[in-house]
Amino acid sequence: MTDRAFAVVRSGALTTVQDEGRPGHAHLGVPRSGALDRPAAALVNRLVGNPPEAAVLETTLNGCAVRPRCAVTVAVGGAPCPVTVDGRPVPWGMPVRVPAGALLDVGTAVSGVRGYLALSGGVAVEPVLGSRSTDLLSGLGPPPLANGAVLPLGDATAAHARVDVVPHAAPPSELVLRLTAGPRADWFTPDALRTLATRAYRVSSASNRIGLRTEGPPLDRAVSGELPSEGMVLGAVQVPPDGRPVVFLADHPTTGGYPVVGVVRPADLAGAAQAVPGTRVRFVVTGALTPPPG
């Protein structure tokens, strides 16, 4: 049997299909979605010879196992983990040839949270609004992987990369998030901004693809009352009534009614994708602490 597809043998805690997401539809209430650790997803695609827009699998903590129905080249990246083919160890972070019918197992992460599995040809589920990404906030795109599901693969378009070693960023022991203040920094007391910039926070276990939740000293508001709904961006640090900052990740809502104290640089969000609960978070305010006069 040579059909280009793979069967899900072990779906893992949460495994989703992800690509570069579906930006451009926020005005319709559609989240951007897409891989949380973008550099890791881009790297595994390059390793197997896929174009950058090919869809990969994003795993959470304990990996997944799949059985391709055709011979494919795969690469596993993101959170480091053991990888086996029919029980035999194969390299992590390198292109690996998997024969048709063999069992590819992406193991539990030894550090970090999200693993990325690219298969040559890419996961070829039907795109929705130009993207194959699973959007956990609004339910667009394919559902999370389930045991027994069979997903189609596209045709391989190029040979895999010829590499001996691939550098990768280790998941952070401390997550440093650089942010610029605004648009609602003036809704908080000056003490609150000092608290954010100087005190230690930790990644909360309630974090998910929608947001990185934190535990730490609450930020006090200078302005009470409700903020009318306004547009939100990737990396926005929204502060709900409990005062604990939430950093918006790929599946964030497109509008929201809690004030945004600052916005994290997108380049720092790959680290946020890999920070296990309990990781120390340091917010570094790089812009002005108060917005310029309007």
């Binding site: 209430g29 667009l140 605004g182 609602r184 009318p228 709904s229 547009g231």
Partner: protein, 213 residues
């Protein structure tokens, strides 16, 4: 003096390295700026990935040089919205929601008056959010704002027509929700095989047409 288009007060707020949040005096000023931004983008005068209107702001995301636009934008002349623009989209509705009596009590009218008032209004999609295809419709002027339910329902059926704050909205699919439900529509609010996928997009005018029982 008042012949030239109004130059509304705008406040341009920073939002990271690629976005600006433009705050206006009220919702209609935000809608006017939104229309002007779409016009400028269509004319090739503005390059931006997302233009997201909201209650009294417009977000511009995916800008190459936000600071340059931030400096220019406050001096733009924003034409007011034309009083009647495109066709009015008619949504069939059955006023059979479980919260009709609560809304009537809040408005201080008999229950049968709620459908009459609601169906007489002309609405406009001010912005979308909450879920793909969920529009926030303005148009119920002069009535008390409707608070969200103290305890949101765990499931609101698709097509439910609800009220919250100054807005009317229609749930595109079944989801949890706290809006006060006054009716049901058979209209398909979201279909990602359709272009645009959302029936209610910002700026669209809407009337609710009661169905005979």
């Amino acid at each position: 003096m008042s012949v030239s288009p109004a130059r509304p007060r705008v406040k341009v707020l920073p939002m990271g390295e690629r976005a600006l949040l433009v705050e206006l005096a009220d919702g209609s000023a935000a809608e006017a700026l939104h229309a002007e931004l779409l016009r400028r983008r269509a004319a090739g005068e503005l390059t931006v990935r997302e233009i997201v209107p909201a209650a009294r702001t417009v977000l511009l995301d995916g800008l190459d040089a936000p600071e340059r636009l931030a400096a220019r934008l406050p001096s733009w002349e924003i034409p007011p919205l034309p009083p009647r623009a495109e066709d009015v989209l008619e949504l069939p509705v059955r006023y059979d929601g479980p919260d009709l009596a609560d809304v009537a009590a809040l408005w201080g009218v008999p229950v049968r008056e709620v459908p009459r008032i609601h169906a007489a209004a002309e609405f406009r999609v001010a912005f979308c959010g909450f879920a793909p295809g969920f529009g926030y419709l303005t148009g119920l002027g002069g009535l008390p704002d409707v608070p969200r339910r103290a305890t949101p329902r765990t499931t609101v059926p698709a097509g439910s027509v609800g009220l919250a704050g100054p807005y009317t909205g229609v749930y595109p699919r079944a989801s949890p929700g706290g809006w006060q439900l006054i009716g049901t529509t058979e209209a398909v609010l979201w279909d990602h095989a359709r272009v645009p996928a959302a029936l209610l997009t910002p700026g669209v005018r809407v009337r609710f047409v009661p169905e005979a029982r």
